[in-house]
């Protein structure tokens, strides 16, 4: 079972290592982890995609919740959340196949952000399944390099917005 967990943490030094260290020493999976400052620079939002059975997922929430730096922990339920991941793909492509690739990119509403004689860098933002489908489509081409950010997510609507005051 895959679960997306959102943490709001104090922006203290070493906070990311405290969290990733907890995952590694207790043997929890991290499929992706993203961290970035929130609108309030004192806090960082971390989105972790993790997997495991129901017991492990419960333990993850409890153990992570015990960390003093963690201000808020919640599960981003796919029903009422949006997830996005950004991917940069460098594809080996010469002039003859370039147009076909641009067509594919258009369908996926991805952007071409760099182009050389024999390569292109494509930027795509979307859900993990969209990103996965796009990469699958590129299997006819040679992918030279690929960088995925891991997903960031937010809950929909204004209910459940976390207000940290102090």
């Amino acid at each position: 079972m895959v679960r997306v967990i959102q943490l709001i943490v104090d922006n203290t030094s070493g906070v990311l290592s405290r969290i990733s260290g907890l995952f590694s020493r207790r043997g929890y999976n991290i499929e992706s982890i993203t961290a970035g400052i929130t609108a309030d620079p004192r806090y960082t939002r971390i989105t972790i995609v993790t997997s495991g059975d129901e017991n492990i997922l419960e333990q993850i929430e409890k153990q992570v919740g015990k960390l003093i730096d963690v201000r808020d922990i919640r599960v981003l339920d796919p029903e009422d959340s949006v997830y996005r991941e950004l991917v940069l793909i460098k594809v080996k492509v010469g002039e003859e196949k370039r147009q076909a690739l641009i067509t594919v990119c258009d369908v996926f509403r991805s952007k071409i952000i760099d182009i050389t004689k024999d390569s292109m860098i494509i930027e795509l933002t979307g859900t993990q399944s969209k990103v996965g489908a796009f990469i699958e489509l590129l299997s006819d081409y040679e992918i030279l390099e690929l960088a995925r950010t891991g997903i960031a997510g937010l809950r929909r609507g204004s209910d459940g917005v976390i207000h940290l005051n102090d």
Partner: protein
């Protein structure tokens, strides 16, 4: 005022009167500032023992233990002590000196990333980067260490921060930790369910863990058990939460525990686990125990509940409060036939196989020694076969039983005993260890002697690392690396430190030797000659 003065001032504000430490350049500003304070600083002989001594002190006083070491090797030497305290949820403040903050990360002399290295063994850690933050950090650290599930907190202070001037010192009245709010009171709805289950139960059993003692709930546990007549078993850390002569108390469970205590666990239909982790040494197959059993798990740490076994009724809260609240709900029940069954199991227990006659029987020795101690005495057991004998045969009254349960750290008993003694000089303190664990910590005899800390020490000498030898023998039918060979003449060791010594070789002399050993004033070292091939059971 400089940062180091502020740290000392904070310790005073927290009521610290004793700390244990070992200096080095990076912590010198602190040890200079402490000259102006009334706080007694005890110089140990190795940093690890500073943490163990602070642990013994904390467990006897109920206060937070404090240990202080320098940067680099001083700090890394503390780690085993910190991990030992963490595994047993003992509240400690560990202060380490650190190299100049401008040099951090450049691998200068005696630099070690101690907050990083100790990360998985602390409840929280701080690397102080601004001297003005010291009062807030110290206040938070003491709060974190001593509340909820207790544990060690590390504060790493670079030398320039210790020397940095502070304009105004103000110790905060309260802490602002927005999310750290341990649950104290159990949930009312959950508590109600306990009464209902008790009314239905035929064979209830309480498993008392170290949490009962840590939350100062010994009298509440006893009141609760007696109110409803529920029998009690304990984990290793729960020993001394109930008196051995109490008919409701069945002793320790686990693979080294009493068979009838384990049998009670298997047969009970309502198991109330309080302040225990249901860890592997206590319950080897948790699911077997909880088959067809209603499990009530009370713990202050929500992450412990459901970690090893899924409870029927989880109760998050401080055991002291939970027991007090449970008593408010009167339930009429009668478990006397169950208690009767259990006591018949107890009578049927086969006695331990006695060692060869020319040696001291450690089980009999522990039983006799502990029953002759003063009622409120502190008994510190080390790790090894000696720990198993101590756990199995210790006679508890109203005293305290200390040991390294979670981590199983050899060499714990001597430093922990000296810390415990300093915690309460009026109480009798004995440390019982093996010849292996004694040699790990015997440097601390100097600390005892130099600081007039009278502790009675017993060394079980069998010439082996006996518990490992026993394990190897059972697993491989041979052994290696466990022969201690030339154990030094302990009478000469004692003489070198000016400590009275007695060697006990004959079972016939056991009683008179113990009597005179306990009667004599000051420290004492007793060596018991054990059968080298003696086993736990």
């Amino acid at each position: 005022m400089i940062g180091a003065d502020a740290i000392v001032k904070c310790l005073e504000k927290e009521g610290v009167t004793t700390l244990f430490g070992y200096p080095g350049v990076a912590i010198c500003p602190f040890f200079n500032s402490i000259l102006k304070s009334k706080i007694k600083s005890v110089l140990v002989r190795s940093e690890q023992n500073a943490a163990h001594a602070a642990s013994g002190y904390a467990r006897v006083t109920g206060k937070v233990g404090v240990c202080v070491a320098t940067s680099g090797p001083g700090a890394t030497n503390l780690i085993t002590g910190i991990a030992t305290a963490y595994a047993d949820s003992i509240p400690l403040i560990c202060i380490t000196g650190q190299v100049d903050s401008m040099l951090l990360g450049s691998d200068v002399f005696q630099e070690a990333d101690i907050t990083g290295a100790a990360e998985s063994f602390v409840k929280y850690s701080y690397l102080v980067k601004d001297a003005a933050e010291i009062p807030r950090i110290m206040k938070e650290a003491f709060h974190l260490a001593s509340t909820g599930r207790k544990g060690p907190v590390l504060i790493d202070v670079p030398i320039d921060i210790q020397n940095h001037p502070i304009q105004t010192f103000k110790y905060p009245e309260s802490v602002k930790l927005r999310t750290y709010k341990p649950t104290v009171k159990g949930h009312a709805v959950q508590l109600k369910k306990v009464g209902r289950e008790l009314a239905k139960a035929k064979k209830p059993l309480i498993l008392a863990g170290g949490g009962v003692i840590l939350s100062d709930a010994v009298s509440e546990l006893n009141d609760f058990a007696h109110r409803y007549g529920i029998p009690v078993v304990s984990t290793m850390m729960g020993i001394s939460s109930m008196s051995s002569d109490d008919p409701l108390y069945l002793g320790m469970i686990g693979n080294n525990g009493r068979s009838y205590a384990n049998r009670a666990m298997q047969e009970s239909d309502l198991l109330i686990v309080t302040g225990a982790r249901i860890a592997d040494r206590a319950v080897s197959s948790p699911n077997l125990v909880t088959n067809n059993t209603v499990l009530i798990h009370i713990d202050v740490d929500p992450a412990e509940i459901g970690k090893n076994v899924g409870p029927t009724i989880p109760i998050v809260g401080d055991i002291k409060h939970v027991f007090a609240d449970l008593m408010k709900d009167p339930v009429s029940c009668d478990f006397s036939s169950w208690v009767g069954t259990l006591s018949s199991y107890r009578k049927a227990e086969a006695p331990r196989k006695a060692p060869r006659r020319s040696y001291i029987d450690p089980a009999k020795f522990v039983e006799m020694l502990s029953s002759k101690l003063e009622d409120d005495a502190v008994y510190v057991a080390d790790v090894g076969q000696n720990q198993m004998w101590s756990c199995g045969y210790y006679v508890s009254k109203s005293g305290r039983f200390l040991t390294s349960g979670g981590m199983g750290t050899m060499g714990y008993s001597i430093p922990a005993a000296l810390g415990a003694k300093l915690g309460d000089m009026k109480r009798q303190v004995v440390a019982v260890c093996g010849d292996g664990s004694f040699q790990m910590a015997m440097c601390e005899l100097a600390t005892m002697v130099s600081n007039d800390i009278p502790v009675k020490m017993i060394v079980f000498n069998n010439g082996y690392l006996g518990l490992v030898r026993e394990y190897q023998h059972n697993t491989y039918n041979s052994y290696s690396m466990v022969e201690l060979g030339n154990t030094p003449d302990l009478s000469k060791i004692a003489e070198a430190y000016g400590i009275p010594f007695v060697r006990l070789k004959s079972q016939a002399k056991m009683e008179e030797t113990i009597d005179s050993f306990l009667e004599q004033k000051g420290s004492g070292l007793m060596e018991c000659i054990l059968d080298p091939m003696d086993t736990v059971r």
